[in-house]
């Protein structure tokens, strides 16, 4: 069975030239919950096939009780963005649509809150799913694959 999510429609308030005058930008952003020893926190995450890792804001780690003090460190960067320091931790990630819920353990990265959305990249997220982006319907469909480690 697949999980289906609507694209988030981000209102722009003016016609978007590249989208034939549409007034909003559809983005493959879904709700994602991160679970730690001190609780859970839900936020929006961008499904990003160009991202190597899955990235959450470091403030979120503290709030759900994940101690990054001695966590492995690394760096990450994106197009036109500066290189940022990140730390890695194993967490529980949860997503759900109206029919189905999925929860698994994954190594993700935490970095400065420079982006609006969590980045749901390959490691820790997309590696476990077959993702179908329905541009016409502005929906994304996620189906767990053979590597999926969760419930």
């Amino acid at each position: 069975m697949s999980l289906r999510f609507p694209y988030l429609r981000v209102a722009k308030g003016q016609p978007i030239v590249t989208l034939s005058g549409r007034l909003y930008r559809p983005r493959p952003i879904i709700g994602v919950t991160i679970v730690g020893p001190a609780g859970a926190l839900a936020q929006d995450g961008l499904l990003d096939t160009g991202a190597d890792d899955t990235l959450f804001p470091e403030h979120v780690a503290a709030l759900v009780g994940i101690d990054l003090a001695n966590a492995p460190q690394g760096t990450a960067g994106g197009v036109g963005q500066e290189i940022i320091p990140v730390r890695y931790a194993e967490v529980t990630v949860r997503i759900a649509d109206n029919q189905e819920q999925r929860e698994w353990r994954a190594w993700v990265s935490f970095g400065p809150s420079t982006r609006r959305y969590a980045l749901l990249g390959y490691a820790g997220f997309l590696q476990y799913f077959t993702a179908t982006f329905h541009g016409d319907r502005e929906e994304v469909e996620l189906t767990v694959n053979g590597q999926y480690p969760g419930t």
Partner: protein, 84 residues
């Protein structure tokens, strides 16, 4: 709406998306560089503050659990078009 495995009602993402789309960039400008907590149906901002921990505290104070809202960090310049 449907049921979580823990018996709680799961927010309907389709309703959330529909309501969130009603917020224009100008509506969100006052919250630039702040953390927001959106209601599960996306119709209102339940709490906002520069400090995420403070937003979480305000959410708890209003009788909601953290999973009942969606946390969102608005960039300093507000909503922007991104090239990824």
């Amino acid at each position: 709406m449907s049921e979580h495995t823990n018996g709680k009602t799961r927010p309907d993402r389709w309703v959330y998306v529909k309501n969130r789309a009603k917020f224009l960039p100008t509506d969100l400008l006052p919250y630039a560089d702040q953390w927001l907590a959106w209601s599960a149906d996306g119709s209102q901002i339940v709490a906002h503050h520069k400090d995420l921990a403070e937003v979480a505290r305000m959410v708890a104070e209003s009788g909601l659990e953290r999973e009942d809202v969606i946390f969102d960090h608005l960039p300093p310049g507000g909503e922007v078009t991104t090239l990824l």
